[in-house]
Symmetry: C2
Subunit: 331 residues, 2 copies
């Protein structure tokens, strides 16, 4: 772990001491005392690597609890690994810290990382800490392992494949809307549930591992369900048709946004879900549902891939619905 | 390669198109069209991974040429790999972009990356792009390969080992001082040479590879020669004594800061050198010099490790010199 840009002697030593325990289960991290770490995938496997940057005011709010910011940052990356079928191994954390961040904040942040490290079996192996005159900015690079050549790509969908999505869609969007003033009519428990989905997404790591060899294409839903299915449609060179009334909504979101077509379109374009959207051949339908049951995650069939290009949303009568541009900018 | 936080539809597609060519020699990057990349070290080797974050106004200036910012970011990480004896393989880039960055800036930035990719044989395999309301912030995670268990650590120095440093020390500090108004008395060529060392450090990749199995401890000089030798002293549990008059200065820096003890102390505490500081058993002295000659890099013996702790700077008569705290905060 390295550092730079501080004019407060000793400060970064304190930070290093705070983060060093997060590396103790990873021998190649050398207790964060070196400039670099070593890592190797298990025999016959390769590493899957992914990076995400988060900026205060863009991806989280300054008032969000530090442990939530820690968990959201890590889980965004875990979600990418999950969607690719990779088993989490290690991560590096680059922190750009504004002056308002103090050691107490960092202690809580590190505790959040520690809790998620235990929950998802991933370890800090390095990173960098610097001061910034701007907003708090985090960049995480996460690494997982997978048998060589088996990463679940975006590009493997075929015409005829079924479209599935894990969990429920739109909850994080609902949580953000509540933080911005919506949702007065719902219960405190429902509000808390939706806000929790915004602040602390649930990466579907176990499901992702179970989808190895079963899913033909996969990604995690971050930009919005329709926008992300657009990435699969584009790279797989297929058309994806989604039945709007099959998009799975949670009871809390149904209470907040109603349970109608308008709510489902809004949910399908909201983003920040960190569910897995994937395709599989129709012959794999029962295997998919068994894998989901084994992983303890609901999976819903929501549509089908066809010859053509782009994504269309169909109403209960099978008619195409016009969709607003937000969360839909990628095709 | 992923992205988020933009309200300018299509912008990130343009960025993706700009960066995709930088991934074409890395099959596991999938042309940056997926959420993640795959990578594996060669048989019998492991990966060495390191991360650095750079912030506008802290690590570079907004007016610095975009290709210099690109190269400095990449080279800071290449320098870490070099000091560990690792052969560069791939990197991920997380970019947080303020509004003043436009496509023309990014084109020049990407061209700078491309030039360095060819020079140092490293490839972009992924990353993330987001908008920020703050300063331009870059985080790079770089990966190299090394035979398993052979990474040159900070912690391997023994009492009796010799201390070496590559190249010349203080040039980047001189360049930064010139950008802040010093150095009126030197020639334009000398000014340009020192500024170039600040903006575009020269990672000692070939030398690092040649030091495998020869150096006992190693790191790259970023905080300042004395501060960084302090890291070796601390993790290796030795005392390091440096002869101030042997600290190698370039002719340009000698012209700018004079060639005396004061100039050498300033150089040894300036930082941003990205040279390799390393230790080796005395029995390896001639092997070290041959390795340096083979790599085409000057290497200077500047002191010795002893029993004890901390770093001391000795004058021409062998007396301890009091050193200002800057660049010296780590012990």
């Amino acid at each position: 772990m390295t550092n730079s840009g501080s004019d407060r002697p000793g400060e970064f030593e304190m930070i290093a001491r705070l983060f060093a325990p997060l590396s103790h289960s990873a021998p190649g991290a050398f207790g964060l005392t070196d400039d670099a770490a070593t890592i190797a995938p298990p025999a016959g496997e390769e590493l899957v690597v992914t990076a995400d940057a988060l900026v205060e005011g863009v991806h989280f709010l300054r008032d969000d609890p530090p442990e939530s910011i820690a968990k959201k940052s890590l889980r965004m990356n875990l979600s990418d690994l999950a969607a690719k079928g990779a088993k989490p191994m290690a991560y590096l954390l680059a922190l750009s810290l504004p002056d308002w961040i103090d050691i107490a904040w960092l202690e809580t942040f590190a505790r959040g990382l520690g809790e998620d490290q235990r929950a998802y079996e991933i370890h800090l192996i390095g990173g960098d800490t610097t001061r910034t005159p701007g907003p708090l900015t985090l960049a995480i690079t996460a690494m997982g392992s997978i048998p060589r050549g088996t990463m679940i790509r975006r590009s493997g969908a075929q015409a005829g494949d079924l479209i599935f999505v894990s969990g429920t869609i739109g909850d994080a969007g609902g949580g953000l809307a509540i933080l911005k003033g919506e949702g007065d009519s719902i219960s405190d428990a429902q509000r808390a549930a939706l806000i929790a989905r915004y602040r602390e997404p649930l990466p579907r790591v176990t499901l992702g591992l179970a989808l190895r060899g079963i899913a033909s294409a996969s990604l995690d839903v971050s930009d919005g369900l329709l926008a992300d299915l657009g990435h699969i449609a584009e790279t797989s060179k297929v058309r994806i048709a989604v039945d709007v009334m099959r998009v799975p909504l949670s009871p809390a979101l149904q209470a907040c946004w109603r349970d109608d077509q308008v709510a489902r379109v809004r949910a399908a374009t909201a983003g920040d879900d960190y569910e897995i959207a994937f395709t599989a051949p129709e012959a794999n339908r029962s295997v998919v549902l068994e894998a989901a049951a084994g992983a303890g995650v609901a999976v819903t069939e929501i549509g089908r891939a066809e010859a053509g290009h782009g994504v269309v949303l169909l109403d209960a009568g099978g008619r195409e619905i016009a969709v607003p541009r937000k969360g839909f900018t990628h095709f």
